[in-house]
């Protein structure tokens, strides 16, 4: 029992470390919350209000529907942005800071996970605010169901864990490349294109392989599918999303445990 309380305390400490890091870097926070959300939204607003200017719709998407989808997916992808993790890990690899971090009496992996989740608390509240605004504007029957809200929060948290496991794999490869540019931009590219931040996955043309890729890749369940589930108030969709997230988390955690066996062999340090 004592052990469990100790572990929980430790988790909270990790989270608060991440939270305070984000809060102290106020300029970055303000830029991230305003410039980085308004500019992409402005682009999509301009394009889609031109494309759907005559009040038409593409498949079942009307103009307000697609704009709210894009607003939500932008804020969710902000929430799941592991740039700092990859950058700091590769910085540690390059300057030999990993040894002292490994000697700490807790696992570096858990520490980074706590830091990552704690760092996104503010964006989490921003996402919930946007969802609430949307809910008051376009009410759906399932919004009165508390189970729906539990599912939404569960999905957002699980998405964080999944993104962290994937980002850890990317960060691990900086033991090979030694520099972060390629890895972080690859992650950003994959999450924007596969996650459906540009275009809802169901709007892609019916080329068999492409459609399957867009509908069943892990990034889709983190960003696009979550956003659609929230907008449509679709409890079944969110349940399906949860199961897929669990499956992907298991898969990626297996890969992470495999890779972590080799990290000490690849890292060349002489004790910090």
């Amino acid at each position: 029992m004592k052990n469990i309380i100790k572990k929980i305390r430790r988790c909270i400490a990790f989270c608060s470390a991440g939270f305070h890091q984000v809060i102290s870097d106020r300029n970055m926070l303000i830029t991230d919350l305003f410039v980085a959300t308004i500019v992409p939204f402005l682009i999509h607003f301009t394009i889609w209000s031109y494309v759907l200017s005559d009040g038409g719709s593409i498949q079942h998407f009307t103009l307000p529907g697609i704009l709210s989808y894009i607003g939500l997916s932008i804020i969710i992808s902000r929430l799941n942005n592991p740039y700092d993790l990859i950058y700091h890990f590769s910085f540690d690899v390059r300057y030999g800071n990993l040894d002292p971090k490994w000697t700490r009496p807790f696992s570096l992996f858990n520490f980074k996970l706590g830091e990552f989740v704690g760092g996104s608390i503010i964006y989490f509240f921003a996402a919930i605010c946007i969802v609430l605004i949307y809910v008051f504007m376009f009410p759906q029957p399932s919004y009165y169901n508390p189970f729906f809200w539990i599912l939404v929060i569960l999905n957002l948290i699980m998405a964080q864990v999944l993104v962290f496991s994937m980002a850890w794999i990317f960060a691990w490869f900086s033991l090979v490349f030694k520099a972060p540019n390629f890895l972080s931009s690859l992650f950003a590219l994959l999450s924007t294109f596969l996650g459906g931040e540009f275009l809802p996955a169901s709007l892609w043309p019916d080329i068999p392989f492409l459609k399957t890729l867009m509908l069943y890749n892990p990034f889709h369940f983190v960003i696009g599918s979550n956003a659609i589930g929230i907008i449509e108030g679709n409890i079944d969709g969110l349940m399906k999303n949860t199961t897929m997230l669990v499956g992907y988390i298991v898969v990626f955690q297996c890969i992470v445990t495999l890779l972590r066996k080799y990290e000490r062999r690849l890292y060349k340090g002489a004790g910090g």
Binding site: M28, D32, Y50, N181, S185, L186
Partner: protein, 254 residues
């Protein structure tokens, strides 16, 4: 002539510094080409859904996307140089750097620049325009001039934001802000609302891809004057802030 030689030395130093992580650089370039191709696919699909965007059809829009890609890659070379200078200033190393026989501006633009980016950008441009055949060859010089104006405006906007960081002791993430603003390049300018068009008078990066692409593909130049005004405004602001900076800088001689 002497001055040019110094700049060439600075550039080659930066080049070797950057190329030392060649695996990362090489893969990053492949990735940026890949992201350009993916954006072409994506926007041609959106154009297929929409029919056209303003005056642009699929073929011309590809040229606009390429100009955006080119200018992003080119100005990336100079993005970090002033930021490194400022981090050196904060560590107290600035006087040691300023004793070198080059002016402050030359050091701030060229000492930490990453020339491998603009070299690859130029190579990509030659390869790309080798494949495109339906262009007005007579308009090439004019579009090159406008491209250069756009690049200079973009670089000076970076420098201005960095100087603001230095003077007011802030740490705005300049490269991130520029990256986000740079995403506005890829849209046809006539689609924007009036407010965004007014913002373009202060931010040259918004029009930097549109104007040369329009000259090259449609033989028209609707918004070139905004690009020129924006670039001149940014350069005036930069020189004003530079004067102010020299009063602000304090040190003990390294």
């Amino acid at each position: 002539m002497k001055y040019l030689r110094k700049i060439r030395l600075l550039l080659s130093a930066g080049f070797y510094e950057q190329i030392s992580f060649w695996g990362d650089f090489f893969l990053e370039m492949i990735l940026s080409v890949l992201s350009f191709l993916l954006s072409v696919v994506l926007y041609s699909y959106i154009l297929f859904l929409a029919g056209n965007l303003g005056n642009w059809d699929i073929q011309n829009y590809g040229v606009l996307l390429f100009f955006a890609f080119f200018i992003k890659l080119f100005s990336q070379s100079f993005r970090n140089s002033l930021a490194y200078l400022i981090s050196n200033y904060r560590q107290g190393n600035l006087e040691a750097i300023l004793t070198r026989p080059i002016t402050f501006s030359a050091i701030s633009f060229f000492r930490w620049c990453q020339p491998a980016y603009f070299i690859t950008a130029i190579v990509f441009a030659i390869v790309y325009f080798g494949f495109i055949t339906n262009l007005n060859l007579t308009n090439i010089p004019l579009s090159i001039v406008y491209t250069l104006i756009g690049i200079i405006g973009t670089i000076f906007l970076d420098a201005t934001l960095n100087l603001l960081n230095l003077i007011y002791q802030r740490e705005l993430p300049v490269d991130y802000i520029q990256f986000q603003l740079g995403r506005l390049q890829i849209l046809p300018f006539e689609l924007f609302s009036k407010n965004v068009k007014a913002i373009a008078f202060g931010i040259p990066i918004i029009l930097s891809a549109y104007v040369p692409a329009q000259i090259l593909t449609q033989n028209r130049n609707d918004y070139g004057y905004i690009l020129i005004i924006a670039s001149i405004l940014v350069i005036i602001l930069y020189s004003f802030l530079l004067k102010k900076t020299k009063k602000v800088i304090k040190g003990f001689g390294g």
